[in-house]
């Protein structure tokens, strides 16, 4: 069953059936914003939502994660976590799925990261296609993430009174199979899906002033652009942009001791290239001084370095960095600034 249909009225029933496969995390309203949270009842979720404050990254690359257990005397080391638990991410937007695909590439790249791979193995992703823009901060079309492009177990597309399901993996197959209320897609359903997706595409447009190839060229030539000085002058160094990014994966490692001061864990925590001591060594040399250089580094880690290394853009177009910026630095404006500079030249 590659394509299936489920009536919206049956969604709570299906949701309940998923619970025995693992803990479910989904989007939930929190004041005027949205967050991924553990979900017990289908009704708790907000299925129409702008990207959550933090991406679901917190579940597969947690803010704090023990890497190693140790004791000092006698010297002993042990894996911190033996078994990870199965879990389901529910109603993940295509931009955030693209974020997971980026992390897959990074942590699979040799030497691979067993903690990430272990968690990823236990993760099931049920996506939810956006049928219109979440808000004006998103730039998903420019990077091609406004439409599903794999990386999920099941993708849900809203057809009004029902969801179309694209079952994309064995895991997804298991979750959809054998349910009387989930039926194979008919020709008529396929027609409805196609019409809905065609209608949707009319609403989305390239958010940048040039296609992605020209963006790539602008980054090739733009390292010494005055755009970075402008962004650097406005940046307050709060690190919000890197904290909410679904493809930021920099980290720190620190030892945390038990009360007996002999046993402890070595844990990694998120770290941000926007912090002023990020590249500073013990002798006091700071190898990336200045907010202009640090902001530029952030953008190059989305639009240039990973393209050269992995042939992949690490901007998913989710818009979180712009949404959260205290100085109102906009990703779309910054990229357009680089593009316009080229046109002017």
């Amino acid at each position: 069953m590659k394509y299936a249909i489920i009536a919206k009225t049956e969604m709570p029933r299906w949701f309940d059936s998923l619970k025995r496969h693992g803990k479910i995390f989904g989007p939930k309203k929190k004041e005027h914003q949205y967050v991924f949270r553990p979900i017990n009842e289908f009704e708790e979720m907000s299925l129409v939502y702008i990207p959550t404050i933090l991406p679901p990254k917190k579940y597969y690359f947690p803010q704090r994660e023990a890497l190693l257990k140790f004791s000092i005397d006698p010297y002993r080391t042990d894996k911190a976590i033996k078994e990870f638990e199965e879990f389901i991410l529910f109603a993940v937007h295509t931009c955030d799925i693209a974020g997971i695909q980026c992390m897959d590439v990074v942590f699979n790249d040799a030497p691979a990261d067993p903690n990430y791979l272990n968690r990823k193995e236990k993760m099931t992703i049920i996506g939810l296609e956006c049928m219109s823009y979440c808000d004006t901060y998103a730039s998903c079309t420019a990077v091609g993430n406004h439409v599903p492009r794999g990386g999920y177990d099941i993708m849900l597309t809203d057809l009004g009174d029902a969801y179309a399901m694209h079952v994309n993996s064995e895991k997804g197959e298991k979750l959809a199979a054998g349910k009387s209320y989930i039926r194979e897609m008919s020709e008529a359903d396929r027609g409805r899906l196609k019409r809905a997706q065609d209608e949707k595409l009319k609403k989305f447009h390239n958010e940048f002033n040039g296609d992605i190839k020209s963006v790539e060229k602008a980054f090739d030539d733009g390292f010494f652009s005055s755009v970075w000085q402008d962004v650097g002058r406005r940046c307050v160094g709060c690190t919000n942009c890197t904290a909410v990014c679904p493809t930021c994966y920099c980290f720190d490692i620190a030892d945390e001791m038990e009360m007996n001061l002999n046993d402890g864990v070595r844990a990694r925590t998120w770290s941000y290239c926007q912090m002023d001591d990020f590249a500073k060594v013990a002798t006091g040399e700071d190898f990336r001084p200045g907010r202009d250089g640090r902001q530029r580094h952030r953008y190059y880690r989305k639009f240039k370095y990973p393209v050269a290394k992995y042939n992949k853009y690490f901007c998913t177009g989710c818009g979180r960095c712009t949404r959260t910026c205290m100085a109102k630095i906009s990703l779309i404006e910054t990229v357009n600034g680089l593009l316009d500079e080229r046109k002017g030249a």
Binding site: L67, L68, F70, S71, I72, Y75, T77, K79, V106, F107, D109, A110, P111, A112, D113, P114, N115, L117, N118, F223, F224, Y249, C250, F251, D252, I253, A254, D255, M257, L261, G264, R266, R268, S271, C273, F278, A279, K280, V281, A282, T283, E285, F287, R288, G293, H297, Y300, K304, Y305, A308, K309
Partner: protein, 292 residues
């Protein structure tokens, strides 16, 4: 440490898990610099290349990247010379023979030995730069006939900052290498050169086409030394440097050591001057893009 292991094996082990090791000898050269001879559990060889580094683990304190100062031709142990400047290195200085620590690595790319073999070498060490270069010098002296002319230029602040004193004396006496050193500031007993390391380069007699210059020192030193080497017409791909950065994970993941698109812990810390050209704008104190 590029070992091919299966996915299942990988999930059982962790690249973050250090190997147990023991300090078997120490030598305190100055108030700030101390040498540690270390044996891995089971006396296994580290199997490193001169120029690589390890992550030293002291549980409860953390980890720090330290370059290896012994040669892989010396079996059963390896050596680190550590300047105490931060949390880990200060804690390490308190350790003595018999103390236990953790080691991960070796990491990164070392000096390009295959390319260097058969050519002349001009080794330029400034300050603590002699530490990783000692690994290379030991390696060369153990396989002396594989290399052409070898000159060592050593610079440090004052005579009492000089590391590896007895070894340096032995290098001076050898007939099969040329050795020259200078101090920034002399003391009354000093009879040698006084001046910056750059002052020794113009007088060095070399055949630029067949010379590899290997330069390691503080960031500020590179731009001045590289200018002198370019004046000598040594080709960019034969000028080899080692860069200091904040290597944290050693696995090309954590991001702290990155220079533009390059993870220093994986692609470096050894680079050629030509490599540095690609890093323009993110090098420090003009390490790169020096115009002769």
């Amino acid at each position: 440490m590029k070992t091919e292991i299966s996915y299942q094996e990988l999930l059982k082990t962790s690249p973050y898990k250090p190997v147990k090791a023991k300090i078997v000898k120490t030598n305190k050269y100055t108030e700030f610099e101390k040498l540690f001879r270390i044996e891995l559990d089971g006396k296994k060889d580290l199997e490193h290349v001169p120029g690589q580094f390890v992550q030293v683990s002291l549980f409860g304190v953390g980890e720090a990247p330290i370059s290896i100062c012994s040669s892989p031709t010396e079996k059963g142990f390896f050596e680190l010379t550590v300047r105490r400047v931060g949390g880990l290195t200060n804690a390490m200085h308190k350790l003595e023979t018999g103390s236990v620590l953790g080691i991960r690595g070796p990491f990164g790319k070392g000096f390009p030995l295959d390319a260097m073999r058969g050519n002349d070498l001009l080794i330029v060490a400034g300050g603590l730069g002699i530490v990783p270069l000692r690994s290379l010098i030991h390696y060369i002296l153990d396989q002396r006939k594989d290399f052409g002319d070898v000159q060592i230029l050593l610079g440090c602040k004052t005579p009492k900052d000089m590391l590896f004193g007895e070894e340096v004396e032995a290098w001076q006496k050898r007939a099969d290498i040329k050795f020259n050193c200078t101090v920034d500031r002399a003391d009354p007993d000093w009879k040698g050169n006084v001046g910056l390391i750059t002052s020794l380069i113009p007088g060095a007699s070399i055949e630029p086409k067949k010379t590899y210059a290997v330069v390691v020192g503080p960031p500020i030193m590179y731009k001045f030394v590289i200018v002198e080497l370019l004046k000598k017409e040594i080709p960019g791909h034969q000028i080899v440097v080692s860069l200091e950065r904040k290597m944290k994970c050693g696995l090309g993941k954590c991001g702290h050591c990155q220079i533009r698109g390059v993870y220093v812990c994986q692609s470096g810390p050894v680079f050629t001057y030509n490599d540095l050209q690609q890093m323009e704008g993110e090098c420090h104190e003009g390490e790169c893009h020096v115009k002769a």
